[in-house]
């Protein structure tokens, strides 16, 4: 077992394109880290640099205590699960699992034992003599996992391993990956663009954007305190409502609605206000409220997502399924401490001092 340390890691391609622009990250031994971000954010490049499939332009990759920048992938003590599984189509499942061990001159009896154990763990024993072509997507995914675990590596690398599966299987396999990782306790680096997958799997999340880290934290830290407008808009389903506003005299003006800001904000002038869909609710009579014009409703069963506009800006509100009186025009209220504020120029989070943040950390986990 080993941790991973990335120091100021950069990737510049021959054409000058910078895919990774100086990333530093400490991954503890046994930790499950998920790299998440939109396509082109550099998450796969970063993973491939750790794997050794991509050269490092600058900076350091350490696995355990060892600097591995120029170490061959096979000698890094890692295993990788690919998006398209990358199973050898001409080999049986058994041979697929055994291939890496044979290349390392593992004794035959041990290969048999390890393949058998992995196959039992993943419930693929009945398929060991089949070729990958004769397996379903989920079974292939298990074989790909099996190929990673038979080697007993120090680190698992996952490159969007679930994106080729249908939605239901994805949820099942997500659970299995999490359970397996807990059981084996192997340090894991997992890449996905699916923020739901990221939230559910990660011990810690790393949100990437444009080759840089936007935020590192536990899923709940990131959900409740997005460090930037980008993270706020990316993590959470539905995404946080971000709406242009103005800070004036300790109050937040959205259109002509003035909301109180609970505490001191070291700024004034234009600002971006962030409101989670579930932090908005229909206002009681007499309460300060935002005028909401209903557009359409998405039924999720347990919840309804009400889409509409506030002062012409799109806004989503999550209400309980039982909530019936939905009108074309509604008034929405929010608890002031639920407000998030971001700089309109840099997108950075503007902290509201005076104890509000500590209250936040005890908040209930919010269904994504």
């Amino acid at each position: 077992m080993a941790g991973i340390v990335l120091r100021d890691l950069k990737k510049v391609y021959a054409d000058g394109a910078e895919a990774v622009k100086g990333i530093s990250l400490d991954i503890r031994d046994g930790e499950f880290i998920v790299l998440v971000g939109p396509s082109g954010c550099g998450k796969s490049t970063l993973l491939r640099m750790v794997a050794g499939l991509e050269t490092v332009s600058d900076g350091e990759v350490r696995i355990g205590e060892r600097l591995v920048n120029t170490v061959e992938p096979a000698d890094r003590d890692i295993a990788m699960v690919f998006q398209n599984y990358a199973l050898y189509p001409h080999m049986t499942v058994y041979d697929n699992l055994a291939y890496g061990l044979r290349n390392r001159k593992t004794p035959k009896a041990e290969i048999e034992a390890r393949v058998g154990e992995a196959a039992r763990m993943l419930e693929i024993t009945p398929y060991l003599q089949r070729k990958p072509k004769a397996l379903s997507g989920g079974q292939r995914q298990r074989v790909a996992m099996g190929r990673a675990i038979v080697r007993k590596p120090s680190v698992f690398l996952f490159d969007e391993p679930l994106s080729n599966l249908d939605a239901r299987l994805r949820v099942t396999m997500r659970g299995e990956i999490k359970r397996l990782q807990k059981r084996l306790g192997t340090t894991s680096l997992y890449v996905t663009h699916d923020q739901l997958e990221a939230m559910t799997l990660a011990d810690r999340l790393v949100v990437l954007n444009g080759g840089r880290i936007e935020q590192i934290g536990t899923p709940l830290e990131i959900y409740h305190e997005p460090a930037s407008a980008f993270v706020a808009g990316f993590i959470g389903s539905p995404a946080m409502n971000l709406i242009p506003a103005e800070l004036r005299g300790g109050r937040l003006l959205i259109g002509d609605t003035a909301l109180p800001v609970p505490g001191f904000v070291p700024a004034s002038g234009p600002i971006v206000a962030g409101l989670r869909a579930e932090d908005l609710r229909p206002a009681k009579p007499g309460e300060t409220a935002l005028p909401f014009r209903l557009d359409y409703i998405e039924e999720l069963g347990a919840q309804r997502l009400v889409h509409g506009t506030v002062h012409g800006h799109p806004m989503v509100v999550a209400v309980a399924a039982a909530f019936v009186p939905l009108a074309e025009e509604m008034r929405l209220a929010t608890a002031p401490e639920r407000l998030h504020l971001y700089s309109p120029e840099t997108g950075a989070r503007i902290r509201i001092s005076a104890g509000v943040e500590t209250a936040r950390t005890t908040a209930e986990p919010v269904p994504a």
């Binding site: 061959e72 096979a74 398209n84 050898y88 291939y99």
Partner: protein
């Protein structure tokens, strides 16, 4: 005409031209050769004598035929492996630089000879190999060696034909190999790298099995082309000589038929050639195809 009649006729109309050309230009001549091989006839005289297997018997006793048959065997033994393995080697090297600017340059320049006519290749090489003032001898002499007679040397003529034929025709197989290698997903190579397989092991345990359909195709078609395509080079470069030492069955056939107008013996040669190709191809399918991994 009813609708259903037209519907039944339509497929035949579509395949008709192709079937007709195959029958007229392939199966017809094969049958005609089979017929001609058992008669004594010069195609002109009204006199046609049935001679049974006499043409075959006299062929087997003919030393020119024996030499041609032996040469054909030598051509196969030298050229078939060369035409399969060396183009693969080039393809692997070109695949290794894929995406770079030089890829096109290498691929283009290596493929260039393939688009020449065999006769053009033969003429060009006979200049280079010319024993009196050819470039090859100039180079040999420059480095202090004695000049060689090259294609006019009975011991070297066959090898010279091999060299020119190879130069002229390896490009096609090379392109096929390149395409096959490009079809192997890179993630499989990467997975194998992570699995601890070095370049050799990756090639033999991952890439080669995955390009085996192409390998099989190339091995079958290369046998055809080696038996067949050589004739143009032989004709221009050596004329089958010296003393028949670079002739092969097809060149012998051509001489018998179109130079000496001995259509009976020539057709017998044709039948023997067809039988050899058929036997080799059947053997390839029998032994080779089960080792092919179709995706």
């Amino acid at each position: 005409m009813t609708r259903s009649f037209v519907a039944k006729l339509a497929p035949w109309l579509f395949v008709g031209p192709a079937v007709l050309s195959v029958v007229v230009f392939l199966y017809g001549p094969i049958l005609a050769s089979a017929g001609l091989s058992v008669v004594d006839w010069n195609l002109l005289s009204p006199q046609v004598d049935f001679v049974g297997l006499n043409n075959y018997r006299s062929l087997l006793a003919n030393t020119d035929f024996q030499l041609s048959a032996w040469n054909t065997f030598l051509y196969c033994v030298i050229l078939v492996p060369a035409q399969i393995v060396l183009p693969l080697l080039f393809a692997v090297m070109i695949h290794a630089v894929r995406g770079s600017r030089m890829e096109r340059v290498y691929r283009g320049s290596l493929f260039l000879p393939t688009i020449l006519a065999y006769s053009v290749a033969g003429v060009a090489w006979s200049r280079l190999l010319n024993p009196i003032n050819g470039l090859f001898n100039e180079v040999l002499v420059f480095f202090g060696f004695g000049p060689s007679r090259w294609h006019t040397d009975p011991d070297l003529a066959l090898l010279c034909v091999c060299l020119v034929t190879f130069w002229k025709s390896f490009g096609l197989n090379m392109l096929l190999w390149i395409a096959a290698l490009a079809n192997v997903p890179d993630t499989l190579r990467e997975a194998a790298r992570l699995d601890g397989a070095g370049p050799w092991r990756r090639f033999f345990s991952i890439e080669l099995p995955l390009i085996s359909p192409t390998a099989f195709f190339i091995s079958v078609t290369t046998v055809f082309s080696v038996l067949d395509d050589i004739v143009g080079v032989v004709d221009v470069l050596t004329g089958g000589g010296p003393a028949g030492r670079s002739s092969n069955l097809l060149y012998f056939l051509w001489q018998q038929g179109l130079q000496f107008f001995q259509f009976g013996p020539a057709s017998a040669v044709a039948m023997v050639s067809i039988a050899i190709v058929l036997a080799i191809t059947c053997a390839q399918f029998w032994f080779g195809e089960k080792r092919v991994h179709y995706q």
